[in-house]
């Protein structure tokens, strides 16, 4: 049994809404990611994932690969 965790990352580097679908696609490709939603206006990234397969650090580095610095947040 693996449980699904919800992680919130924040980034203040988004400068064009085109990055939204890029980051969403990148995150969705990771194993164990159930859903990924990126909000351009607030810079919030919501990810539902199985923490055993993809850790929070994995999420941060995936966002970094697309070119944005994101930081995990408590809420």
């Amino acid at each position: 049994m693996s449980t699904i965790t919800k992680t919130v990352l924040r980034s203040d580097e988004f400068s064009c809404p085109s990055c939204v679908s890029k980051i969403e696609a990148k995150l969705a490709d990771l194993p164990g990611v159930v859903s990924a939603q990126v909000h351009f206006t607030t810079g919030r990234i919501e990810v539902e994932h199985v923490a055993d397969e993809t850790t929070v650090d994995d999420l941060v580095s995936a966002v970094d690969q697309v070119g944005y610095l994101a930081v995990p947040q408590a809420f």
């Binding site: 064009c16 809404p17 085109s18 890029k22 408590a74």
Partner: protein, 643 residues
């Protein structure tokens, strides 16, 4: 290779600065030694420095089978170099990078209002566990645990004070910076800052359940909710880039003009247009949130801006909803008002009835003698009685008096009639089976009810109504005191709903209320406003706008912020559509070339963002001067006006 790209692109400012220097060097060498090979070399180097990051992002896109603006710019720059137009390549990559970096910085400013709230979130808490103090992450405290809050520290949880006294600055929650006194049994909020004392707080909500976290979530939801116009523009944006890329291909196929095709690629990002609406909304909603006003999304922002009718549910909005002693009328010559109050308070101290507290508070604040009572008895729904220093005292309704065999004289009955006629709740006070006086209580008008109403008038609200379940007399007194002319009294919740619908026939209505029984009217109104720190969860849930501070003026602020934001948003849409039109015609007419196109494009994006950031300064000076006057203590606290 990708390592080199990364190191070059990590620091965007440095990239921009280096490429600028290379362009200048290239310019100088081209001017000093015309025809020298160093000129193109410098400019190609500048293009590579600025373009590395663009190319990296373009490749990341391509790997995901997407063509983004970075890909278009990379193709354009490479094409320009191949055509020998090194100057264009260097200028395009430099301008793109410089613009993107500036945009990032300025966009961060428009999101700043919220960042400020997020920064308020507490990080650690000192918990008392098994007698010792342990420091843990704030979110890991469980409800029911006791946390220690030192003076000057940020309260880590929502909770109730169990020990200690202090002041808190609740501006992160309510937008009001006036310190609030806290003592045992008072409620405190996570993210507020204490001064003046050590508090022990029993946690009732932690982490993402705290009021602050819920406010942040609400504000973000609001900022993310898309206004109707925004959806249209996003759709447009999605088609625009591929359409322009296609146009570039067609232009090249038809005219064989590579330069024209590349220029079209450069202007292929609808940048200013797609961000024009979101940046204004983020800044506007963020600014309002700082003032303790939650506007739940762009759609509500647009409606709020057009409000011309405001209906108030009186209790808890124009008034505080808290009873206070308004009159103490002695009816026997030998007994003073002070004595009446002191005796009543002595008995009421032992009672838990909602009207008991105000009597005790009044006796304390007027410095009446504190007397001890014993043999306390409660007469359900009628009043209370006890022995005070050997005297038997009863406090309660006319019915209690007749039950105890106390005579209510015609004079006393007249006083009772007058007070109840004024909408007050009156208690008879009897000593040794004789009525000695009457204590009357009433709701309190808020300090800023009248200024708030006149500001609403000035903000263009033409019709103001009071819709209340209270009696006509009470309602019209509040109406006169606050400057409202229209009153509908004696309404049941469903009557309020009908009244709102009636007003909607001729205008756009905002309904302001605080309680559960307003929920239907709040939901029916064009804009439902949940008002005050006491606004119930239901009211706040149903509402489109929530005002957390309890200031009537905040309603006018909300309308002004909404107007300013919609105005700002329209300016942005106009600027960005004009830019797109200008660029397309300019390019097709052959007047605008690659570097110029990029410059105009990036400038328009910056104009739009900087314009939105202006919203964050709305009302700044006003707020500051109010805080200053409070600090200086030059404004005496107005005596509570009892209605």
């Amino acid at each position: 290779m990708s390592k080199l790209f990364r190191s070059l692109s990590r620091n965007r400012w440095r990239t921009v600065a280096v490429s600028a220097q290379l362009i200048v060097l290239g310019g100088i060498s081209g001017w000093m030694w015309p025809g020298n090979r160093s000129y193109p070399l410098f400019l190609v180097a500048a293009s590579v420095v600025a373009g590395a990051d663009i190319a990296r992002r373009a490749l990341a896109d391509l790997r995901m089978r997407r063509i983004g603006i970075e890909a278009l710019v990379s193709v354009a720059a490479t094409g320009a170099i191949l055509l020998g137009e090194v100057w264009e390549a260097a200028a395009v990559t430099f301008l793109f990078q410089a613009g993107a970096t500036l945009e990032q910085v300025t966009l961060r400013r428009t999101r700043r209002a919220l960042t400020h709230l997020v920064d308020m979130a507490p990080t650690t808490a000192i918990v008392v566990r098994e007698g010792s103090h342990v420091e843990v992450p704030a979110a890991q405290v469980t409800s029911g645990e006791t946390v220690l809050v030192k003076p000057g520290a940020r309260i880590p949880v929502d909770g109730q004070v169990v020990e200690g006294r202090a002041w808190t600055d609740e501006s992160s929650i309510t937008g009001e910076s006036t310190p609030v006194a806290k003592e045992p049994a008072d409620v405190v909020y996570a993210g507020t800052v204490t001064t003046g004392g050590l508090l022990r707080v029993e946690a009732t909500a932690t982490g993402s359940d705290t009021t602050l976290a819920r406010i942040i979530a609400r504000v973000e939801e609001a900022q993310e909710a898309k206004a109707p116009a925004q959806r249209f523009i996003e759709k447009f944006g999605r088609w625009y880039t591929p359409a322009v890329a296609g146009a570039a291909l067609i232009a090249f196929a038809v005219s064989r003009d590579a330069h024209l095709a590349l220029t079209l690629l450069v202007i292929g990002c609808p940048g200013a247009l797609v961000i024009s609406i979101p940046v204004s909304i983020v800044a506007g909603i963020g600014r309002a949130a700082q003032a303790g006003i939650l506007i739940k999304g762009g759609e509500h922002l647009e409606t709020t801006a057009r409000i011309d009718t405001v209906a108030f549910d009186k209790t808890g909005t124009l008034t505080t909803g808290e009873f206070q002693v308004a009159d103490v009328v002695p009816v026997i010559d030998q007994v003073s008002a002070d004595r009446v109050l002191a005796l009543a308070a002595a008995v009421e101290t032992l009672s838990e009835h909602p009207l008991a507290g105000p009597v005790v508070d009044a006796a304390q604040s007027r410095g009446s003698a504190q007397l001890e009572a014993e043999g306390f008895a409660q007469h359900a729904g009628r009043g209370v009685s006890a022995q005070v220093a050997g005297t038997s005292v009863a406090v309660g309704s006319e019915r209690l008096m007749s039950e105890l065999g106390v005579e209510v004289s015609p004079d006393v009955a007249r006083i009772l009639d007058r007070l109840t006629g004024e909408g007050k709740t009156a208690l008879l006070v009897a000593a040794e089976n004789r009525v000695i006086g009457v204590v009357a209580m009433a709701d309190t008008l808020r300090d800023d009810a009248a200024t708030g109403v006149s500001r609403l008038h000035r903000a263009g609200v033409t019709r103001l109504w009071i819709l209340t379940g209270d009696s006509e007399r009470v309602a019209s007194r509040v109406a006169t005191a606050s400057g409202i002319s229209e009153v509908k009294a004696g309404l049941l919740p469903e009557d309020k709903l009908a009244a709102v619908q009636e007003l909607q026939a001729t205008g756009l209505v905002a309904m302001v209320g605080d309680g559960v029984n307003d929920a239907p009217a709040l939901a029916a109104a064009d804009v439902g406003v949940a008002f005050g720190p006491g606004a119930t969860a239901v009211a706040a849930e149903t509402a489109d706008v929530a005002i957390l501070s309890g200031r009537v003026e905040a309603i006018a602020d909300a309308i002004e912020y909404a107007r300013a934001t919609t105005r700002n948003l329209r300016q942005n849409v106009v600027v960005s559509i004009a830019t797109v039109g200008l660029l397309l015609t300019g390019v097709l007419a052959g007047e605008v070339h690659m570097a110029g196109g990029m410059l105009i494009h990036q400038l328009s994006v910056l104009v739009v963002i900087v314009n939105a950031a202006r919203l964050l300064r709305l009302g700044r000076r006003k707020t500051k001067s109010r805080t200053e006057t409070i600090m200086e203590g030059s404004v005496p606290r107005p005596r509570d006006l009892v209605v």
